[in-house]
């Protein structure tokens, strides 16, 4: 509430503060990556428990899925770093 008041009153927010808030917000993307990685490993484990003989063959797919899911979260981190260091 105070923040909104400051923006309206002064016409502009301090750039440094806005950058910090924006970078923090961009890092929320990592929560999604955490959920995704958890789902991937959890589903791999439950599949492997049901059919252990097929588990070894799907291991490369597990690694691929892990890397792809992790990368989407890191895109958010890149946005945070761009906000902090590139502007």
């Amino acid at each position: 509430m105070h923040l909104i008041f400051t923006i309206k009153k002064g016409g502009k927010m301090e750039l440094e503060a806005a950058k910090m808030i924006g970078a923090g917000l961009a890092a929320i993307a990592l929560a999604g990556a955490g959920v995704g990685i958890g789902i991937i490993f959890g589903n791999y484990l439950s599949g492997a428990m049901r059919n252990p003989s097929a588990a070894q063959k799907q291991f490369p797919n597990l690694l691929l899925g892990f890397a792809l899911a992790e990368a989407t979260g890191l895109f958010g981190l890149v946005v945070a770093l761009i906000i902090l260091f590139a502007f």
Partner: protein
């Protein structure tokens, strides 16, 4: 205040400044570590394939392991048509792997943590795959944007989405590798600075975290090289086997 964790990514000049018009061609620490990784691949593979004995020695075993690993990956993901591209993908994998691994050594420089390096590699792959696709299939290659079995009503929308996803390939391929390497190394540095700032009494906890994270980073270094290579294979598969 702890040392700046971004300091490790600084590129600086080694030796004299070389300029060609407006282009700076000076020898930097990035070029030095690229050279080191390229040379170590050459030396390793030269000595690994020198003896050619039936019962392989250690070096030959590792070299054969890498060869079989990549050959199997290409065969599984892109089929037998992709065999001519084995040298390219093998080189790509080994270069990214060595750059990542040499970056894990203390006081070294991670080449792949700079987006310009990964973007050039990704753009090269993207343009090459597009040229291969048009070369093999002619204008029929454009049907990659029109998936089979989609209702006609949805087709305009799906085609636009497919085109966007095709064009975003180099971006996602390069940012994935660069962000993983940069985030990992920043994290290691941050935990390292915790050890210093907590001192002799409290520093042991972040130190043990640092050890575990180093292990994780070595895994990520290998994994990202693998993912980079396997995604290249998948793109190549799209270009070689159209709607298989």
């Amino acid at each position: 205040m702890a040392a700046n964790p971004m300091h490790q990514f600084q590129v600086y000049r080694l030796g004299p400044e070389i300029k060609l018009g407006n282009v700076d061609l000076s020898f930097t620490n990035a070029s030095l570590f690229m050279l080191i990784s390229a040379l170590s691949i050459c030396i390793f593979l030269y000595f690994g394939s020198k003896q050619k004995s039936i019962i392989p020695g250690r070096l030959q075993l590792i070299a054969e392991l890498f060869y079989n690993f990549i050959a199997k990956m290409i065969n599984d993901t892109a089929g037998s048509k992709a065999k001519p591209y084995f040298p390219f993908i093998f080189t790509l994998f080994m270069f990214v792997l060595l750059c990542n691994m040499i970056g894990m050594l203390p006081y070294s420089f991670t080449v792949t943590s700079h987006i310009i390096v990964t973007l050039v590699m990704a753009l090269f792959i993207f343009i090459a795959v597009t040229i291969i696709g048009f070369f093999k299939h002619g204008l029929k290659y454009l049907s990659i944007f029109v998936p089979k079995g989609v209702p006609v009503v949805l087709l305009p929308l799906i085609t636009v989405i497919e085109i966007i996803s095709y064009l975003s390939r180099p971006v996602s391929l390069s940012v994935r590798l660069f962000a993983n390497m940069m985030a990992g190394h920043t994290m290691l540095k941050v935990f390292g600075s915790f050890v210093i700032s907590l001192g002799l009494l409290g520093g042991w906890l972040p130190l043990s975290f640092s050890v575990a994270l180093t292990g994780l980073e070595i895994l990520v270094a290998f994994l990202q090289a693998y993912v980079f290579a396997i995604l290249t294979c998948i793109y190549l598969n799209d270009a070689l086997n159209l709607h298989h």
